[in-house]
Symmetry: C2
Subunit: 403 residues, 2 copies
């Protein structure tokens, strides 16, 4: 089940405000989806995710297939009950992870042979098996199994070379054949959720166009743009982001996979993207990098040692505002700047990082995820108010102000 309501469109860009209704609930778009690889968004509790207004999270099919394994997933009736998250979940196909194994895997028409990175077992992943696993996971959005076309080849014969047009075409066409097999298997399994097709084509606009046209003919309920954020220069990524999303059907949700920075997200929205996911907020949190309205902040820098200010005086997250949050999703905490009792200081966060204390990445994960989720809330509010153009300008100015 998937229903997508297009609520408003921005006259100054391709940006859209939408509402996605899935089996486990409603998702207001544009949306950022926190990544919960192994059935947990790293460093945060499900309660905390709810508090910060997360509407949908990701799970990684490949990882969950390895651990805990399909037997446990089937016993729990899917990922929701296992990880105690009752809102929507999107799962990827496992294709990207298998592809990332590099020389440990072999791609053929039928599927991908590889050795388990957990125990060395010889395994085989095909479009059909990916659909079977995702059906057991019972994710609200299922992604087709695809081949992620690399930017730079990792194959023994062509290693280190830019992917050629011929290679990108061959890969894109394989993904299309796999898309058809996924659709057939998804239907055969009577999966009650929604299957998304993935546009590939490397850095070649005409291949992207061909991919999307053929996928549109197959009539998926939603579409993703894959094969970006795979090591290409930023301007190449932006070129594809500018080309593809707005050419997808207007009445269906559009998901840009694995992107990106706060700037990428706002630009992606302007290009017509509805859904984003990225490990940056949680990964950077564990490396001591904080995203804020006024730019990024590296907490390990010695200049923070005695700084009594919170990370971001306008932020209402637990790390910055300290006060208990309001009812789930409403985030009623009073920010420091508005007289809230104040959250944790930069000096304290610097200290936690220096001592290797768990609370450091815990607070950083809360803050960074809250930042991403709140950014998208502000985007939605600007779209509702018809002021997305102004929002973009203000966002850029504030982000370059410096923290």
């Amino acid at each position: 089940m998937l229903q997508f309501d297009l609520l408003t469109t921005d006259p100054t860009s391709h940006a859209r405000r939408g509402r996605l209704t899935l089996n486990h609930g409603v998702v207001e778009t544009p949306i950022f989806m926190p990544v919960g690889t192994y059935g947990t968004v790293k460093g945060v509790t499900p309660r905390s995710l709810e508090d910060m207004g997360a509407q949908i999270i990701l799970g990684n099919t490949f990882h969950l297939w390895m651990r805990p394994g399909l037997d446990v997933m089937a016993q729990f009736g899917g990922l929701h009950q296992f990880e105690k998250w009752d809102k929507p979940i999107l799962t990827d196909s496992g294709g990207f992870q298998v592809w990332s194994l590099g020389e440990m895997r072999k791609i053929a028409e039928e599927g991908v042979k590889f050795s388990s990175p957990v125990n060395g077992d010889k395994l085989f992943l095909t479009p059909e098996i990916s659909m079977q696993i995702q059906t057991v996971l019972n994710s609200d959005i299922v992604m087709q199994f695809d081949e992620c076309t690399p930017y730079i080849s990792v194959e023994p014969k062509t290693k280190g070379q830019l992917t050629t047009e011929a290679e990108a075409r061959s890969s894109m066409e394989l993904s299309l054949r796999w898309a058809r097999r996924c659709q057939t298997e998804f239907d055969r399994l009577e999966n009650p959720n929604a299957l998304f097709g993935i546009v590939q084509g490397g850095m070649f606009e005409h291949l992207r166009q061909e991919s999307l046209e053929q996928l549109v003919d197959m009539d998926f309920p939603g579409y993703a743009v894959g094969g970006v954020s795979v090591g290409e220069p930023k301007d190449e990524m932006l070129r594809i982001m500018t080309h593809t999303p707005h050419r997808l059907p207007a009445h269906k949700p559009r998901y840009l996979m694995g992107v990106g920075t706060p700037e990428d997200l706002v630009e992606g929205v302007a290009q017509g993207v509805d859904m984003f996911d990225c490990v940056m907020p949680t990964r950077n949190a564990r490396n001591g990098t904080f995203f804020t309205r006024f730019g990024d902040l590296k907490i390990r820098n010695a200049r923070h040692k005695t700084d009594e200010r919170p990370l971001d005086e306008t932020c209402t997250c637990y790390a910055c505002a300290g006060n208990p949050a309001g009812p789930a999703g409403t985030d009623a905490a009073v920010p420091y700047a508005n007289g809230g009792r104040g959250g944790f200081s930069r000096a304290y966060l610097h200290h936690l990082d220096r001592c290797g204390e768990m609370l450091g990445p815990m607070l950083a994960s809360i803050h960074n995820l809250h930042y991403y989720l709140n950014l998208m809330r502000e985007v939605r509010e600007a779209l509702d108010a018809g002021s997305f153009g102004e929002f973009r300008a203000k966002f850029k100015a504030e982000r370059t102000r410096g923290v």
Copy 2:
């Protein structure tokens, strides 16, 4: 400032129910105090500590002196504001940590010379310096600087030998002289909080008696029993726990340092102890060992892989009951067994541990601390109800039932 009200005493043991009023609030005793070495109770937020009903937490003077250092502590006006904990704090004296450095330190009458484990700096800690540091930390309860008499010697000449009576006497007498110096310096500094004396004397009852008599003469507002949980066999620890606490003044709080298991706590209460601290709930959490009403549980055991039950069906912590907690301290979550929507399964906790996911130790820390704090709440309720004898019997029977 310290006021101790003795509310009730148990006719079947030395157990007492009391109320301790300190500069930052009221502490109902008997109480367990979570350990927050570096200005954070490992793996939990201050909000979570409040939710689970923590009334007072520890800080470690030695660690905080090293990092972030006294300059930062002074700038923040003490530990409370730095770590965002507005309820009472107790700090140790740094003596135990310096002592634990082994051959890296040298003890003399004046104090202890040692090399900083952080940067190798030559440092000197004396009773006076300990009082000065703890005054900057502004902890509600300040501990005297003492020498922790070892159970087995670590000195080069006598290494590996049991501490002799002469050695224990000499050490105990040094601690008494340091107690007087601490008292003098604490008064000179006009520290507005409360200084506790520490009974030493190794495993020798008559030395313990001598130590406590002389400390009582010095009229501290509270007393601790130190030098236990230092590697001695359990029956030796129990022997001292049976001897010393109930001989301390009835109208003053009694603190047994560094103890211990749930069984040790209940036995300690029966012997007249009011306050406990121990790293076990948080340290064991990070090693995958959970304390429950029905015994301890090692989550790494493969038998948990498919177990859908929570750790403890009667527990109301976030990990077990899942529901949002009620207002701070009330812990209104409905346990699984009473129809609560249910927390995380053993299978999920097993999976998190296996994948090395942060959420594993986070949930384990919440559960274990909640278990310790709730155990002491049940102890207090039993004392209030005049049924501590029955409670002890029930506690022992349940703990040996098996999980």
